[in-house]
Symmetry: C2
Subunit: 368 residues, 2 copies
DNA sequence: CTGAAAGCGCTTACAG
DNA sequence: CTGAAAGCGCTTACAG
């Protein structure tokens, strides 16, 4: 290629300049133009470093002239900080996780960090893929709707890279987790539905393994004890729209269909609403009440008008970053577990109890 | 901190080992354990490098024992290739762009590359944010539902970083673009609606500046010439759900409401469908036909059953990567423009013409 | 405040 | 096939 170049350009041979322009300018180039040392250039771009105002000015002017941008990768090599956070996520079809990604991106940006994206398969633990994370020497790994295997967790722990799982309470010692009020939410939704006069209950879970799904069901069934005719009917929606639709069909066409269905996510609740109304011609909530989880933006839309339990993505992300930073700061620290506060948001998809509904911050919530 | 450590541990002072374990293992560590040179370790991890099988074996074993992972950032510094592609995206609420992200992530992964994510504000050109891209020395920048300003484009061009815009045909010389068949789609949808017996037409565009929106409208109005009573009514939905709902209200409650509405994206078409059916109690398509653009997965769902023009995310991404790689390979190359083929997908949200509907690959499409 | 120098963890001619 | 060495573009004690 070196040889064919000049020939292809018709025998012209002024390659020298070309070569110079080809390469992105470095601190050395800036230093030469500004008439200072390379270290001076480095200092001019390091907040808080000791440089004379005058020197800094000359450097910045020269940098501007050359279009110099500090090479963050080289900086990372020297500082052992990449300012890159890996995000593994499996369920971007669910608007809740879109919110999480967006919030995380925004918040990290405030401290000049970026997301390195790993989209994993919902089922797989994504270990093979996440091995690569270690090679990129990211500052931390965030898992959203994705689970780290014990082996992977151990490897990260050994290499000192903090992991925070969002919405996956994990028993693994090295992994911090941030969740919503899963069990409490289940209890309060149960109370709400009992107060609304319901008798037969269904639960659309995500997957069998889902620990948050289990926690929500635990709270739900604990409070329902003695109030549920024939126990709680559980169906699995796989956290997908189609899966949840199928689960809804199963529940609502069973011998004794539930008159209230709690769904492990708003996204699945939308599918349940559609099956109930459009396919089966049921009246919601007269025939069946539907309650979701997350309070995604679409839940408040008139066409869904979904009663749900909020799990604010922004609070989840703020807490995630707080933990992350603490772990980066002091690598030795044990993992933390945090729950983010939510509320039962009352809308029109579930029958209303006679009392307990209050208005707060423009939304109607329920207090027992 | 150095000082307080040992004291906090009760006066114990065996810090040395601790320090050794703290650091991630490097080629030197592996080399020492394997009894070879550091370069030999490097070669063992470089596909195609000349290493004796035996040497390679020793290295791999030692690496395994130490939990060594090559530092990709250091490699990048030496090779001037980061294997990171920046993706700027503004509209993750729209499922079409979720598909784009997912496809791009999957395809890049096949060649061991990752996405560095930049979520930009829909309105802003995101220049400030994208400046950072240059510092990360990514191999390329992909813009999806995001636009580079001429100034930014020039800066990237100067630094030799290829840019490909998805769905934003750009006049800027340095920028390659990949789009669907915007103008052709507009024409064919117009023909389809004329054949379906419509007379009054509406168009829900995204934003005033949107060049793809303009191209679609151009094709649409060109073919509609002489068939549209009182011209085409245009409203802007801002590519958002709420914006499109508002646009639909405006069109459908006007003095002479359209009997056919073409929407610049499926996502906006969903809002239009909801307003037409639920808010205004119209029958779709008896009272009004609605046609979308993109053919996102939700479009085929029974509840939407949307007639639309396909713009396959996978093909778009494949083409994007092809162009990207060509530009990385030969930096001098002029920008390219590609159109990805689509079809008019016939479903139930628009009245059917008497003829031209054929079945292909399990879907019904329309051929004039 | 400043420059020379060592080092971050790799790759890659070069000489053997 | 292999090792010593230079270099990728930064940061950061160190000495002045």
């Amino acid at each position: 290629m070196r040889l064919s170049g000049p020939a292809a350009w018709g025998g012209q041979t002024e390659l020298a300049d070309e070569t110079v322009l080809r390469r992105a300018p470095t601190e050395r180039d800036v230093a030469k133009l500004a008439g200072v040392s390379q270290s001076a250039v480095s200092r001019a771009f390091t907040p808080g470093a000791s440089v004379a105002k005058d020197t800094r000015g000359k450097v910045l002017k020269a940098a501007e002239a050359l279009g110099y941008k500090p090479n963050l990768l080289a900086r990372s090599l020297a500082t052992r900080r990449t300012n890159i956070v890996a995000l593994a996520i499996s369920n971007l079809e669910n608007p809740f996780y879109v919110q999480v990604v967006k919030e995380l991106s925004d918040r990290l940006h405030e401290t000049n960090r970026q997301i390195l994206l790993f989209i994993t398969q919902p089922g797989a633990d994504g270990d093979a893929m996440l091995e690569r994370v270690l090679s990129f020497k990211v500052d931390a790994l965030v898992l959203a709707a994705a689970t780290a295997s014990p082996a992977l967790a151990a490897e990260f722990h050994k290499s000192g890279v903090p992991i925070v799982q969002i919405n996956r309470p994990s028993g693994l010692s090295g992994i911090s987790t941030v969740c919503g009020e899963n069990e409490l939410a289940g209890e309060r939704i149960a109370s709400f539905l009992i107060a609304g006069g319901h008798r037969r209950f269904g639960y659309v879970s995500g997957t069998v393994e889902s620990s948050i799904g289990k926690a929500r069901l635990d709270g739900f069934s604990k409070r329902l004890k003695g109030h549920a005719e024939g126990g709680i009917q559980v169906a699995y929606g796989d956290y997908t729209f189609e899966g949840a639709a199928e689960a809804a069909r199963k529940l609502l066409t069973s011998a004794r269909p539930p008159d209230a269905i709690f769904c492990a996510s708003d996204y699945m609740a939308f599918a349940v609403l559609d099956v109930a109304r459009r396919e089966l011609g049921l009246d919601v909530p007269a025939d069946v009440s539907v309650v979701g989880f997350d309070d995604v933006p679409e839940a408040s839309h008139p066409k869904n008008n979904l009663t749900t339990y909020s799990q604010p993505a922004s609070a989840l992300v703020v807490e995630t970053i707080r933990i992350l930073d603490a772990m980066i700061e002091k690598p030795g620290r044990p993992a933390r577990r945090r729950e983010v506060h939510g509320d039962l948001i009352v809308r029109g998809s579930a029958r209303l109890p006679a009392r307990g509904i209050v208005t707060e911050d423009t939304q109607r919530i329920w207090r027992e």
